[in-house]
Symmetry: C2
Subunit: 610 residues, 2 copies
């Protein structure tokens, strides 16, 4: 039984509307409703017809390292060519560089769709979108002019090269070294600073890119670090320069292209290569490379942003990259739901009162699993789209104050979206496996792939603990709980408005309770933090889970209230009301365990014998 991916258009369109209201974003309000619908319908068709059919085969075949570099699975190069021909890489990119500059909330929905159909594939354009953002904000004009248009069009892709074997969550120890090419490279024909170009003419001549550097080092876990979809791949590489300060303050960001522009305009191969591929639990079609930069004469690269400002440059695109993980995870959760629903409708076990075989979707426990999957998935989508809409508002709102408000909300939402959506994807995929029974454990069933693919979410782009620490230390405690307080006020207000409806009363009551308790807990943490240096580390993760399970309840309250306000009670409205009821009864009570863990602080963890 093959179940092709179907973009859940009505749910997505409704979620975009709610998200833009929640984020006070004018976002896709700029784009007429028919356009939004047309874009997503077209994305859904591409996902169903092109990406979804490659998903299982891509998992089985995987990417392979050959003498000529990385070969992606059969069908991937052609699918990517069509992806670019249809203009998908550019939908959210700035018009100045050839993009369509559609609102992020729409691009977010498209991102979810690609991942739902084929996460391995979806990771490739996502890295390029992150690079576009980094270069747009920080690169010199010549770099932007040369590299942004082909990245925006999809003609070239990008890769983020951060991790080294000894430097994962803690980048301060990274060792990749960048030296000015003109002083240290020893390459014949190197010109002076900013002048003649080493190894060809990349730095000099008209349209010179600035002083080139030579990079040497090894990076691991580089997604799409090499492949055969495009001739050029733009690597953004974190490296240390000679005599740079120790730690995070001595790290710079470099643009290191796979192909250098040669003297006659012909591309020259830069000195970088994929030396091995990881064999992974999932996302097997996505090549995860060990990259050697400068194994021979040194890889040529150009500084992006200020010297020693690499970490900040990276952070400025982090919101988008982490939102990307949340959207991908939402796509996986949606896919797991689709597969489980389809299986549960077909599979017959047990009999009804009249003795006829029942499809298992009629069994109460299967319904419990499916409804739990759905409420979790819809909550994840609501949060992720709201973050996307906040990103829109932070960039585009008319007045400064509105942009700043949106930025504060985005700062809170981003780590929650990254961590909670990725945790949710695992839970939903696991429930999806369970609905399938033994069938869900065999490779032939796509749900088993979704389960394996989902497990990377809590790990990459900053582990979920890194998100939790970012949330509690930087976003909640640093301003004394002010931004959180504003958000909790807003959630409480949503709940107050919703509680009049009997169907929503339990959800609203739970939401009001949790908001009040979160506020008190944050205040208590702010008081204890100074005297307890392990506190934030100890409670960050349960705090994030607690706020996340509450924020998803807020999303359900918004969504269901929206349907009630519109009337009449159509299928969308019934789904939202059922989601809200299920969430209040089965999921929001998890807040209790998270709250208890927060209340118990650090002592238990630090004093225990291990």
């Amino acid at each position: 039984m093959s179940t092709p991916y179907e973009a859940p258009l009505p749910m997505m369109l409704a979620a975009i509307e709610v998200a833009e209201r929640a984020a006070a974003s004018t976002g896709s309000g700029e784009a007429p409703g028919e356009l939004v619908e047309a874009v997503l319908e077209s994305a859904g068709r591409f996902a169903r017809e092109v990406l979804s059919p490659l998903n299982r085969a891509g998992d089985k075949e995987g990417s392979q390292l050959t003498a000529a570099g990385v070969a992606t699975p059969t069908g991937f190069p052609e699918a990517y060519r069509r992806f670019c021909a249809d203009g998908w890489p550019s939908i959210a990119a700035p018009r100045a560089f050839g993009g369509q500059q559609l609102p992020m909330a729409i691009a977010a929905a498209a991102t979810e769709v690609w991942a739902g159909a084929n996460l391995s594939f979806a990771m490739c354009p996502e890295a390029a979108a992150g690079a576009v953002e980094a270069l747009r904000l920080h690169a010199s004009d010549p770099l932007r002019e040369r590299y942004l248009p082909p990245l925006v069009s999809g003609e070239w892709t990008a890769a983020m090269a951060l991790t080294e074997p000894q430097a994962g969550s803690d980048l301060s120890t990274l060792r990749t070294l960048a030296e000015p090419a003109t002083e240290t490279s020893g390459v014949p024909g190197s010109g002076g600073s900013g002048g003649g170009a080493p190894g060809g003419a990349p730095g000099g001549g008209p349209g010179g890119l600035g002083t080139p550097w030579r990079l040497r080092g090894r990076k691991i876990f580089i997604s799409w670090g090499d492949h055969d979809l495009t001739p050029n791949i733009v690597h953004l590489v974190l490296a240390r320069t000679p005599n740079a300060p120790q730690g995070l303050k001595g790290i710079s960001l470099f643009l290191v292209p796979k192909q250098l522009p040669g003297p006659s305009g012909d591309p020259l191969r830069n000195d970088l290569e994929a030396v091995s591929l990881e064999h992974k639990m999932g996302i097997r079609a996505s090549p995860t490379c060990v990259m050697a930069y400068g194994p021979h004469e040194g890889a040529l690269g150009w500084l992006v942003g200020p010297l020693n400002g690499g970490v900040e440059c990276l952070f400025s695109m982090m919101n988008q990259m982490r939102l990307g993980v949340g959207l991908h995870s939402t796509g996986l959760a949606e896919r797991a739901l689709q597969l489980a629903l389809s299986y549960a409708r077909e599979r017959r076990q047990g009999r009804d009162a009249a003795g006829a075989q029942r499809p298992i979707i009629e069994h109460a426990d299967v319904r419990r699993m499916l409804l739990t999957m759905r409420a979790l998935t819809h909550g994840a989508r609501g949060l992720a789209y709201t973050a996307a809409a906040a990103l829109d508002a932070a960039r585009r709102a008319e007045d400064e104050a509105a942009r700043a408000r949106a930025e504060r909300r985005l700062a809170l939402l981003t780590p929650i979206v990254k961590a909670c959506c990725s945790d949710i994807a695992i839970e939903v995929a696991s429930l999806g496996v369970q609905v399938h029974g033994g069938t869900g454990y065999v490779d032939d069933s796509e749900i088993s792939q979704v389960y394996r693919d989902a497990r990377i979410g809590p790990i990459f782009e900053g582990t979920n603990y890194i998100q939790a620490h970012d949330l509690l230390a930087r976003k909640v405690l640093r301003d004394g709980g002010a931004a959180l307080g504003t958000w909790l006020d807003e959630m409480t207000q949503t709940a107050e408005q919703a509680r009049g409806n009997a169907a929503l009363a339990p959800l609203a009551a739970g939401l009001i309770t949790q908001c009040a308790r979160l506020r008190a807990a944050a205040a208590q943490l702010a008081r204890s933090n100074a005297s307890d240096r392990e506190l934030v580390g100890a409670v960050a993760y349960p705090f994030l889970q607690w706020l996340g399970v509450t924020a998803a309840a807020w999303q359900h309250a918004l969504a269901a209230s929206d349907s009630i306000a519109r009337g009449p009670i159509d299928r969308l409205a019934r789904v939202r009301l059922d989601d809200a009821r299920l969430y209040a009864a089965h999921i929001l009570p998890r807040a209790e365990a998270h709250a208890a863990a927060v209340a118990h602080g650090a002592d238990l963890l630090t004093s225990a014998e291990l």
Copy 2:
């Protein structure tokens, strides 16, 4: 970094003691402490030296179907030969058939050890142990005499053939057909009923096995259905006979050996074969076969137990098979804990106050994960060993009343052990992956295999929902909550005794609360059950989770109280007290969400639109 499996001897020995007291079993009390320790030390050595080194390679290589049948991964046949030479298959088997008849609690610990080192391997002797139990209880004397000794010694193995494509959780629809060989087989040379033997002389002559049957049908998901470890494999096959009643009451159990005893004593090949192997998410070294029984002239088999009594025969060994899943899952959780601890001690990220790099085990959130893993694992072990001790007591206690009491406790414990331990293994493995970060996602790291291997636990030997339904419908509600009430009394008493110790007071208080709430909930369910036919199905799973999280708290209370009573506070005592504190603060509060789901009943699930 390779971390060989180490059996956690002190924890296991202490857990056996507590379990036997909790189950009022004289079990291994029969076996002197030094013997128990020697057996487990020896098991641990075998696991470390023989099984653990084959685990990663077995996963990579997998079992393969060849023209000659299934070939297991390199090293498996030799390891199995040594396993038998050391006498491991027989440790729990009855003396009457060559077994050592050690208490189940000891055998349980050994079973945990095999699975912790190599689950794929461990599944093979586990199936044989189940078959031994079924044959011991239900087979005719000739069948027992011929088949039990080689199964007990490990010379032959066994496979359970239940599932068919259309018949999974619901066996009532199975189609495999068994017909009396003498009437219908058409095999030349078939003798009369109970006399001359078809296809050779299997049924006749001295030591005749009784009337043979011809079986025809296809079974799926047959673990170790074919392999190259032993020449013969004893299949226990559920099949329908001509004119049998419809449904579960028309199913019989047959012994269908791969090799038939030929006329001159030489083995003859029976008409059964593995026609394909499943490619699975995990347990890849364990061959999961699609078996064809009787693709040609019909497979010869012999009835085990009464005609149409197959399902009951199966149920009588279900306790042991399901306990086996719980023990295997405990082994996986223990293994995940070992791997995560080892990694967290080696891996350095971040710096301490003095600027030195810290092993990540010093980070509070990593400690949170590790301590959560440990408390869950130790709780799982406590429950599983207590069930094993109850099995001992149910079989061996001196007086009838004690045996009946143990049987009732075992009936409650079995579904909880199967479901909760398998759910716990997944959670613990997932935390283990998270502790490893990106390293945990690549195939080279054993933790990624543990995560994949663990996912089968909630599916096979009756899905976890089947367990939950068995618990609530048959074990709790059928006797009006009497057996549950007795157990809750006992747990409450344990808590009352523990609450005097300050370190245990929070755990004790939580346990007392949950026992009281569970009692009330069970009473409410008993009242509502008659009028709400969807109720049991809807709340069974959260009810099981609720009782399970509570029962594990009871285990921690027992374990910590045991250490306090003994004094002095050594490492074992500190670990148990830390487990108890962590469990009370971080895990037992999950009861809230399970209780809420139970309280909300069925309406929400049955009325929701899907």
